[in-house]
Symmetry: C2
Subunit: 357 residues, 2 copies
DNA sequence: TTGTATGCGTTATCAA
DNA sequence: TTGATAACGCATACAA
């Protein structure tokens, strides 16, 4: 094991001058090193490099040259210690392996790095306790948080929002900023589609009990079904995974509905898998739909009809909103993200006329 | 906006004493606040909370109580400034939306948080320049890095490894630690399978030119094909996405092979999609295989035969290795991760006897 | 065992 | 415009 290898580092860094001063033990140059090399005071270096333009062009050039030669970079910790800003934000997710989060991560990462912020990712593994622990651990080192699909109680979220700025995704809590999809738009399009196809009786396969979004989708579904005179039954809660969807098939069949609306694509896919194994014909015997349009939804056979969420945009908006607030700008109003129905092969007209209850 | 709210905080902190000191402007309690409340010196607080046991039980209890009441937490930046350690590591990835990385992220996140480390995620978007910029930006604030599927030149990686400890995943560079799958094991199993089925002519759909892993797979494939007397042709480079696989169909058909071995599952899936659209029967007319066994590979129809990589374990091992080195422990030797062949529905005996070239 | 003093690298305040 | 200097919150060498 080679824990230290001083000769290498010095050899690579300094150009064979005396090794006594210059770089610190850490190997990284500081503003003192730059100041010495440029023949100015450390505070001048700080100014020149932090807020360019507020200094004489000549000295600034000298300082820049010296910084360049020493490969100087600001120490973020020292900076943060004084300013209280870490230039870091946290994204906390329920389940990293759920394809739903890919888009969110990518959008958030882009928006963050665009403004020079670093993104920290924490996973709650669908557990409120784990999430609380993770948040508590990273809270001191971030300037703000994006809570996506949080499993935390509303009160706890409010507590966090008091300490640091928070933006929610797919969750609403009083007085906390949130990026939300237009649920009613998506559900309306979905019900219209099913209605036109001739479906008269639906089942909703709900998600976890603590999922705010599952509840919202149910409410909208219920209202829409009522106004259209369609039958609707809730089956759940279901674990929001393929396995969870698989396990629900029996109850769906027993409910004698012609279409199943799943809380998310994972559940929908699981349901279709189980149906295929039981020789239940999707979509002719049973239509199946999901939400999110994750990777895999168009791969599965039959390809899944689903309500697409603009996940990447959600991640991006959330971070932008957070950063705007951090910068003292007034964040734009967060209008709902559009939810578009993607019609594929898992929905069709029911084989027989609607069952009369 | 209420930046300060002294009455609340002091009310909770000091017992109505003078309001001049107490909580800092930031709102967060410091060891000074705890020290004052417990009636001891700040350094004692630091000791009591940093290394429990090395202090009298009575004072420690007092200090813990005070810390609890003030909801004290160490300021990681202040700590890092002194120790040079941030308790943070970076995971840099080529493409966050590639399902391959889910496992890596999860494994890395678990291993990191298990030791109280925070994980930072950076994405290179398949670009060496973006990756270099990202690395350079986060380098000062992390204790070490895990480079997964790096698009960086070997020299650049060595440069980074001089500044901070680095562990690679799916990439080998001299003198840099790496977690690698057992490529030859996977390829051997794959070729055995194809050989038994009766395939005599294969195509390898390679990945990006800069992909070290694509090159390794090709080398093993070539060697194995030679020793088995099988024909093998390389088709590529291909963009490692579904689209990339789609685009390769024509050349695969033109090559008149009976089986296509794709660099990864995404390419394999794309190839199958294109095949389906062109009425090419997979697996009877063309067998297709992938690498990785990502989410979606068993969803697609026909379900994909592929060489599974232990991605989660790779992420975990990489972080553990890094952390062991950071802690001064000697990291365990990094033996190759096993690569298991998962036989599903995309491979079958060729419809006709092998084409004679 | 506990307290005092100092430094970590930066920014900001105040002089010059 | 530039320089000296005092925080920022914590860890540690040293003293008590």
């Amino acid at each position: 094991m080679q824990s230290d290898e001083p000769e290498d580092e010095v050899g690579a860094a300094g150009t064979s001058v005396d090794a006594s001063r210059g770089q610190r033990r850490n190997g990284a140059a500081t503003i003192y090193d730059v100041a010495e090399r440029a023949g100015v005071a450390p505070s001048t270096v700080s100014r020149a490099l932090s807020k360019p333009g507020r200094i004489s062009a000549a000295t600034e050039a000298k300082i820049r040259a010296a910084a360049e030669e020493l490969n100087f970079r600001f120490n973020p910790m020292a900076r943060a210690l004084h300013t209280g800003r870490t230039q870091t934000i946290a994204l906390v997710l329920a389940d990293i392996t759920n394809p739903v989060v890919f888009g969110i991560i990518r959008g958030a990462e882009k928006a963050a790095s665009a403004e020079g912020y670093t993104l920290i990712i924490a996973e709650s593994q669908e557990s409120g306790d784990v999430e609380a622990a993770a948040v508590s651990r990273i809270l001191p080192s971030v300037d703000g948080l994006v809570l996506a699909t949080s499993r935390l109680a509303s009160d706890r979220i409010r507590d966090i929002a008091v300490e640091k700025p928070v933006v929610l995704i797919n969750r609403a809590v009083d007085d906390v900023a949130a990026i939300l999809p237009n649920v009613s738009q998506g559900v309306t399009a979905l019900l219209d589609h099913l209605d036109e196809l001739g479906h008269r009786s639906l089942a909703y396969l709900s998600g976890p009990q603590v999922s705010w979004m599952s509840e919202r989708r149910w409410e909208n579904l219920l209202e829409g079904a009522e106004s259209r005179g369609m039958g609707l039954v809730e089956i759940g809660p279901n674990v929001p995974t393929i396995e969870g969807g698989r396990a629900a098939l029996r109850r769906v069949l027993a409910a004698r509905v012609t279409a199943a609306v799943a809380f998310n694509d994972l559940i929908a896919i699981g349901l279709m898998k189980a149906a295929a194994e039981s020789d239940v014909d999707v979509p002719n015997r049973l239509s199946v739909t999901g939400f999110d349009d994750i990777f895999g939804s168009e791969l599965v056979v039959p390809a899944l009809t689903t309500v697409r969420s603009e996940l990447e945009l959600a991640g991006q908006r959330a971070v932008e909103h957070l950063l705007a607030g951090l910068a003292g700008r007034t964040p734009e109003a967060t209008d709902a993200l559009s939810a578009e129905l993607v019609i594929r092969m898992s929905t069709a007209a029911p084989a027989e006329p609607a069952v009369v209850g």
